[in-house]
């Protein structure tokens, strides 16, 4: 039971990170109907950006306040990753609207290959470790010699995720950008006729997705304390699985899907086999796409004849 509770906490932490990345997939899919294959690599890139700023702040500027460092790193990573998200859309996806069906996906695969190898070229192929920022943990429950803990790291991750999701939710539901975005999802041409700047709305969608990926990247770095250029692929696929599982196009679905994938992966590793934990995620992806492509909260799409 204690073991279960501990795994549950670990799973939720991991799931928060997947959920944040999944939102980027689901938003982009919702608005332009493409699988942004490069999103996982944007996430990886953001972790590198966070890593470098963390080093600058701690080793060069000698800052010691953990909260301040974390906050500055988070904001800088979000801003600079957003710029990447914007640039990628502008260069690699926007010219392809109206091209053939698979063109955006192929282009996205190109971006993905480019980003991971770009990071490898400019930062090297080795794992990049950072010293742990926080080590303490809340002891939630103690039973004989088994303790259930919630580490500060995990608390920070869950709190940050919850806070940012709330803000994000407000943005999409209550602001004019959110309305424009939902209008573009329904019917892009009609939205344009009504005076919505479709290009800008799509750009902003990519920017937001990248910003949330940057949050995930920063938290990932905080949690695991290490990142490498190839770390975008597997979390990317898992977050995409989360988006599909939750129902692609649905924002709450992405978060729920992320949490479910995080929990499944953690329990699978804990109770079955750690070697096959990635196989679990891939299997879920295949099974969901085959049997329920609309996911938990998605709308079924009727084939247009």
């Amino acid at each position: 039971m204690e073991f279960f509770a501990q795994q549950f906490i670990n799973g939720l932490t991991l799931g928060s990170i997947y959920g944040l990345i999944a939102i980027g997939y689901t938003m982009v899919f919702g608005i332009i109907g493409m699988v942004n294959f490069a999103h996982g690599d944007v996430f990886m890139l953001s972790a590198f950006i966070a890593l470098i700023f963390f080093l600058i702040l701690t080793t060069w500027l000698g800052m010691t306040s953990v909260a301040l460092v974390f906050l500055i790193v988070l904001v800088l990573a979000m801003v600079l990753t957003s710029l990447w998200g914007w640039a990628v859309e502008r260069v690699a996806y926007r010219p392809l609207r109206g091209s053939f069906r698979l063109a955006p996906l192929i282009s996205a695969i190109g971006v993905s290959i480019f980003l991971s190898n770009f990071v490898q070229v400019v930062q090297g192929a080795r794992n990049k470790p950072v010293p742990p920022l926080v080590n303490d943990a809340f002891v939630l429950y103690r039973h004989e010699d088994y303790v259930v803990t919630l580490s500060y790291k995990q608390a920070i991750i869950m709190a940050t995720t919850a806070l940012l999701l709330a803000g994000f939710w407000y943005l999409v539901q209550k602001t004019s950008f959110g309305r424009a975005q939902r209008a573009c999802e329904q019917d892009r041409r009609m939205a344009a006729l009504l005076g919505i700047n479709v290009d800008r709305t799509i750009s902003l969608t990519f920017v937001l997705g990248a910003a949330l990926a940057a949050v995930a990247g920063t938290l990932y770095l905080l949690y695991y304390g290490v990142v490498s250029f190839s770390d975008g692929f597997v979390p990317g696929v898992k977050a995409f699985t989360a988006a599909v599982l939750g129902g692609i196009g649905s924002l709450p679905g992405a978060v729920i899907g992320g949490l479910i994938i995080g929990l499944i992966e953690t329990f699978w590793s804990a109770y079955f086999s750690i070697e096959y934990k990635d196989v679990a995620a891939f299997l879920i992806l295949i099974v969901v796409l085959i049997f329920k492509p609309s996911g938990i909260l998605g709308r079924p799409d009727v084939e247009k004849v």
Binding site: L96, F100, I113, I290
Partner: protein
Amino acid sequence: MAGTATMARTGAGGEAAAIVKDALLHALVTLGLSIPIVSYRTDAGQGTGLVLTSRWGEVAILCAAVFGLRLAQQLFLAGRSRHRAKADPSAPAAVSRASALIAPFTLGIALTLPALAALATGGLSESRYWIDLGILILTYVMLGWGLNIVVGLAGLLDLGYVAFYAVGAYSYALLSTVFGLSFWICLPLAGLFAAAFGVLLGFPVLRLRGDYLAIVTLAFGEIIRLVLINWVDFSGGAAGLSSIPRASFFGIPFTAGEGGFAATFGLDFNPMHRVVFLYYLILALALITNLVTLRMRRLPLGRAWEALREDEIACRSLGINTTMTKLTAFALGAMFAGFAGSFFAVRQGFVSPESFNFLESAIILAIVVLGGMGSQIGVAIAAIAMVGGPELLRNLGFLKAVFGEHFDPNEYRLLLFGLAMVAMMVFRPRGLIAEREPSVRLGAAR
């Protein structure tokens, strides 16, 4: 871009200013993107921590390069739009005439490469590098042609193609080491196994829409790789399988002693005999792939593949069983990957899961995409350029002189692959060779 519209309205001076401003903007964005990922490099320090090094010089060069390139591009575009009236209508015809010559020329080179290399380097043993490179390129040509059936003809994006390559390689490795079967029995079996895997995977997933299919094939490819890594009893795990029997000349081994290839044919023993044999083996396999594909295009099934790529719904309304039709394309593509895989195993004498990761699938896909989906000669040229190109660059001394001693073009190979894929989709979505030869002509049938 929004800039072009404003440019048209302003005068020549305004135009120049707008171009410079646009280029500056691009440089500025590049600067933003370079922070901090290019401007600071992280390296392992003495202890456990990382050390930062600034590289603002490189950032400046990068921004200047982007500025210059954008400026040149805009000036070129502006110049071309002024001369648009004088566009050369004969250009496409010239391209197709050139590509008609390229095919026999390339084939000629391919058929005589070992002799050419031996002559150029002054001996069979000295030419080993070139023949090995030829084998490598031809393997990718064959894989590209195989994938071209799936992606180029049938329009199915398969991101897990390398899984079938792996099935072929492990089929040969296991059949030959465990059951002692010879390469010539294993080769067709490997193809059949790979095709069976294709059917097994394809049956449930080929109903999915294009991009979902791509993701599912990717997941399948990864699962195969992870199983190969973790199922140690079966596949040898991450360490792979080694001491796989080498190829023989239809039963005659390439050994030095009595009964070996050299002795049987009265030649002096030379380890290069086997390499040359492997070269012609992969050349033959690749040509068979090509021949079958060209033949299939002229058959109803091949035409149905292309129709499927064009419009699946129309196909269904014409009574074509789309699932079965996709399945045949998938299985045939998988079979050729299986052949290529068993060739890979017999050549290396060693297989491990790391040879079959997603990147490999992506490289093969890039070759197909760059070659122009559906064009056989385009795929061959793309394979030569993408696989052979970086190899050749590595040997060019002056690049080292310019970029420093540690410069290795291979590092940039994948980066360029990625960029080229994007550029291709943006500028020439139908590939370098976009021309499509009709499978049948009314004129010819008359």
